[in-house]
Symmetry: C2
Subunit: 268 residues, 2 copies
C-alpha cells in the first residue's frame, strides 16, 4: 500500500551537519512529522564554492530526497538557499523552501529594525541574496553584511565560547556594534550555536535565528496545503550522509543535545 | 612532434591552494621544469573526509594529470598522501611521491630527535601514517600527534599572526611545549605559512617543513631516473582548479608572493 501523500516525510538537506539546527526546530514544532535528513559531508563546505557548483550539488541532494518520496523539501543550508533555491523551484514541482526568506520575513516584522546586520559564509554574503530580499520590501533599510568564515570551523571544533571565540566575534562584528545595528540575521546554520556569545557582544540587538523561522514557515506551508501528517505518534527521523557517518553522529550530539543512530552512507 | 618524455611537466595536485607551498619549493629547486598544478577546490577540504572518499578524489586528480601527459606526480596534500598514495602506486605505473615520506626522512636524519611532534588535519592524524613511518625506522622514537583543524581556516582568512593565531597555537601545541619535543613536522601544506609563529612558540624545537623536503625528494627522483628537463629557460606553470578560480588566484598571492594568471576550470 502506498503511503498517503501527507504522511510522507519532510526532506531536509544541508552541506553537512549544520542543518540539524533546522531539524531540531522543525521536530519541536511538528513532532508528528517523519523527517529524512541528508548531509552532503563528502563535499562540505558549500560556503566557499561557486554558484554553478552549488546548483549542481543542490540538485543532486534534491534528487536523492525525491527518490525517498518526501512531500516537501527544506533547504537547511544558507549558501544553497542563496544560490540554488530559484533554480530548484524552476526545475522541480514539489514545494521547496529555503532559510533566507524565513529569516528576512522575521526581521521585516520587527518594529523599527532599520539597520540590519547579516552574517554568513563568504558565498552567501557575496551573493547579496539577503540584502536584495530585505530591500525589495523595505527600501529604507540599511543592510550591513559580513562574511565570518571562522565561525563554522570554530563550531565544528566544539569551541562555542572562550577567548578564541570572543576574539573572532570581535573581529567580525565590531562594525555592527559601532553602527548600532537593530537586528542581526544568523545567516548560516552553524551560527545558532554561537548565539549566546553573539548576543552578549551585541547587547540590545535582536538576533534572528533562521532555523526557528524556517520551522514556522514549514508549518504554515504544510497547513496551507493541507499536508500535515495525520499520524499521532512521534515522527521517525532518518539520517543519510555522503561521507564520515561517525563524525556526523558525533557532531550531531552537539547540535541536537541527544544521540542519533549512525547515518547511512549514500553516493549522490 | 611529441615532447621528449623528460621534458614533460611535473604534475602536482592538492585539495586546494595549500599545495602551492610545494610548488614554490619545487620551482625554486628545479627552475627549468614545467609544472601543471591541479587544485580540487570544488571538494576542498580533504582533511575531514574518509579514506574511501579521499582515494576516489585522489584517483580522479591523478587521471586528470595523466591526461595532461606529466612525467611524474607529486601529491602535495598530506591527507591524500596519508590515505591514497599506496593505492595510487598500486594502480598507476608513473612515479608518484607524497609529502609524508619526505618529511619523515628529514626528521629521521636529525641527530637525537627522539621526541617528535606531528601536526596535521584530523584525517591525517587519525590515519597514523606519520607515526607508522617514523616508528618503522626508529622504534625508540616517541611520537606526539595533534590535529589542528583551525589552522587551515586561519590561513585561508589571511590570519598569519595576531591574538587569534597565538591562542590557537597555544591550544594545540601546549602539550608539545610541555613535553619538550625535539622536532615538529608541519603535516599540512597550509602550515608553513604559520611557521614563524609556531617557531616562536616552540623555541628550540626543529620545525620540518614538508614542502621543502618533498622538493628535494622530487629532484633526487628525477636525477636518479634521468628525467630532468633538458630545457634551459624558466619552466612554464599551468594552473587548473575544479571551482572558484578567482578565489584561488587571490589566495595564491599569499602563498607564492606573486600573481598568477587565473586558473582554468576543469571537471574531474
Amino acid at each position: 500500500m502506498t503511503k498517503k501523500f501527507n504522511n510522507r516525510p519532510i526532506g531536509i538537506f544541508d552541506s553537512g551537519v549544520g542543518g540539524l539546527t533546522v531539524l531540531k526546530e522543525i521536530e519541536r514544532l511538528l513532532p508528528f512529522e517523519d523527517i529524512i535528513y541528508f548531509g552532503d559531508t563528502a563535499r562540505v563546505p558549500y560556503g566557499n564554492k561557486s554558484k554553478s557548483t552549488i546548483v549542481k550539488f543542490s540538485t543532486e541532494c534534491t534528487l536523492f530526497l525525491l527518490k525517498n518520496k518526501v512531500k516537501m523539501i527544506v533547504i537547511a543550508c544558507n549558501t544553497s538557499s542563496a544560490l540554488a533555491l530559484e533554480h530548484l523551484r524552476n526545475v522541480f514541482t514539489i514545494p521547496i523552501i529555503g532559510v533566507i526568506t524565513a529569516g528576512v520575513n522575521k526581521v521585516l516584522s520587527l518594529n523599527s529594525a532599520d539597520k540590519i546586520g547579516i552574517i554568513g559564509t563568504r558565498s552567501t554574503i557575496v551573493s547579496g541574496s539577503y540584502e536584495r530580499e530585505i530591500q525589495s520590501f523595505n527600501r529604507k533599510a540599511k543592510v550591513y553584511s559580513q562574511a565570518c568564515p571562522l565561525f563554522v570551523p570554530l563550531v565544528e571544533e566544539g569551541l562555542l565560547k572562550g577567548k578564541i571565540v570572543n576574539q573572532a566575534i570581535d573581529m567580525y562584528l565590531k562594525r555592527f556594534s559601532k553602527n548600532r545595528v537593530d537586528a542581526v540575521i544568523l545567516g548560516c546554520t552553524h551560527y545558532p550555536l554561537l548565539k549566546p556569545q553573539i548576543s552578549r557582544y551585541l547587547k540590545g540587538t535582536f538576533i534572528v535565528d533562521s532555523a526557528k523561522e524556517v520551522a514556522s514557515y514549514t508549518k504554515t506551508l504544510l497547513l496551507s496545503k493541507n499536508l500535515l501528517s495525520s499520524n499521532k505518534y512521534k515522527g521517525k527521523k532518518i539520517f543519510y550522509v555522503s561521507d564520515e557517518p561517525m563524525a556526523f553522529a558525533r557532531l550531531a550530539k552537539l547540535f541536537l543535545k541527544r544521540k542519533i543512530p549512525t547515518p547511512k552512507i549514500v553516493n549522490v
